[in-house]
Amino acid sequence: MSGLALEVSELSVAQGGREVLRHIGFGLPRGAFCGLIGSNGAGKTTLLRAILGLLPAQGRIQVNGLVGYVPQKIQLEPDLPVRAQDFVALGLDGHKFGFALPGAKRAAAVEAALRAVEAEGFARQRVGRLSGGQQQRVLIAHALVRAPDLLLLDEPLANLDIKAAAEIVALLKRLCRERGVTVLLSAHDMNPLLPVMDRILYVAGGKAICGTVREVVRTEVLSALYGHHIDVIGVHGRILVVAGGEGHDHRHDLVHVTAIP
């Protein structure tokens, strides 16, 4: 079996007549925690959707194992008659017709997924009445219930406060370590991920580069990726990624605030 959980080569995706991703390639080792980073519209969601087979794409995508997916925030109304544990159970066989016979194996899988995200305490509550952080845990449990090898998460930290985001990141890192799940998580704010990221997949201008943070978040690397000069500036142990300088109209636009762990 390959040592990689995900292999992508020469991947190109066009949407609405625009080529969003062009000839990108990377591989993710099993059990790695990878941050998919890029500004809004860079193609992060497009890449995740292409890996899931939801978008037509050219090139090669090889997923070695089962994939779990956590989409961007789902609108869940407070009065929706669905409990957290019902939602997780839909991850097992929610796409199938017929009567789901209650069985010990089924209940054990749901219980294990809820336990893995520390959601047993609110498993019987309506999913629409949970906090943002609790809902995110339930979404992760929904993805985990079939024991995936690769977990794709689309902006899971976007609507969370700093504390809840840190808790979700710690939870995902623990899943990575204990279950050997490979995590590919998209985000535009890298700070909560820096202590846990093994690799970073940086997407800009339709291209992507993958490596460790020290390998990727560098002036020459990001300048080549963006196609114009990018400054990577260290400030108090943090890094500012700034577009500007020569040939860029002397404007300094903040691209990312990040920090070397």
Binding site: L52, L54, V67, Y69, P71, I74, L76, E77, D79, L80, P81, V82, R83, D86, F87, L90, G91, D93, G94, H95, K96, F97, G98, F99, A100, R124, Q125, R126, R129, H142
Partner: protein, 256 residues
């Protein structure tokens, strides 16, 4: 079988289907579609009168046609815009058919507000099929209908077809609503679905339980409306509409 028992059975069967569909109207946030699709019965019944084919054929044919059209239109336009457009077209076609059939004034009242006491034993077999098959189909589709409502994207990732589920839901909703029209009328069938469905969703936190409770509420509502209409000589539709709102308000009193 006595006339009143036949009416009672017809209303119960219609309520079973409407209650089951109503639970999913709440889960799938399809209240506007639940208002628009019964209007397919309006041209359906009018076309049956105009061309001389059985009423149930007109109701069923137009209900399924309306559901198919709505499912197609929703792929191309915003959901509410597509529903509003369908509603306009159905009302326009219905008005034309009724006008051409020559029974305009009397038929309009019956189609919009219902004439349950005009039903008879000959209507029971077809109502029996609808009243049992619609809830059975919805029960079998409980999981995919729920998942595709919560997240069509997750449904696709798991290998399901949310577009197929949307059509199936609209078709079952249209059948439940279309065949309830003779009982409650096109305007008030909405209340027989929404009131019990919304009240059940407040009282039960599980999709299957909410569906069963909505069916129970809808049958109780239909029985109460029939009894009150019989003793007061007021329209059944009035009691159905007011009762549905009352049911929801009572359910709201439950502490969160």
């Amino acid at each position: 079988m006595s006339y009143l028992v036949e009416i009672w059975m017809a209303a119960s069967l219609v309520a079973l289907a409407a209650g089951a569909a109503g639970a999913f109207v709440v889960i799938r946030r399809a209240g506007f579609a639940a208002h628009a699709l019964p209007m397919a019965a309006f041209p359906g019944a009018a076309a049956a009168a105009l061309f001389g084919f059985p009423l149930w054929v007109g109701l069923g044919g137009f209900a399924l046609g309306g559901a198919g059209l709505l499912a197609l239109m929703q792929r191309r336009a915003r959901r509410d815009s597509a529903t509003a457009l369908l509603l306009s077209v159905l009302l326009a076609v219905g008005a034309l058919c009724l006008s051409l059939s020559g029974h305009y004034a009397g038929s309009v009242y019956g189609l919009l507000f219902g004439q349950v006491f005009a039903l008879g034993g000959q209507d029971l077999p077809v109502l029996c099929v609808i009243g049992l098959c619609v809830p059975a189909m919805l029960w079998l589709g409980l999981r995919p209908l729920s998942l595709s409502a919560l997240s069509p994207e997750l449904m696709r990732v798991q290998g399901g077809r949310p577009d197929v589920m949307e059509f199936l839901f609209l078709a079952l909703l249209a059948l439940a609503a279309g065949f309830a029209v003779p009982v409650t009328g096109a305007l008030l069938v909405f209340s027989l679905m929404l009131g019990p469905g919304a009240a059940a969703a407040l009282l039960c936190a599980r999709p299957g339980g909410a569906m069963a409770l909505a069916m129970l509420f809808a049958v109780a509502l239909a029985w109460a409306a029939l009894a009150l209409a019989y003793v007061s000589n007021w329209p059944v539709g009035f009691f159905t509409g007011v009762g549905a709102a009352g049911l929801y308000l009572l359910a709201r009193l439950k502490p969160v």
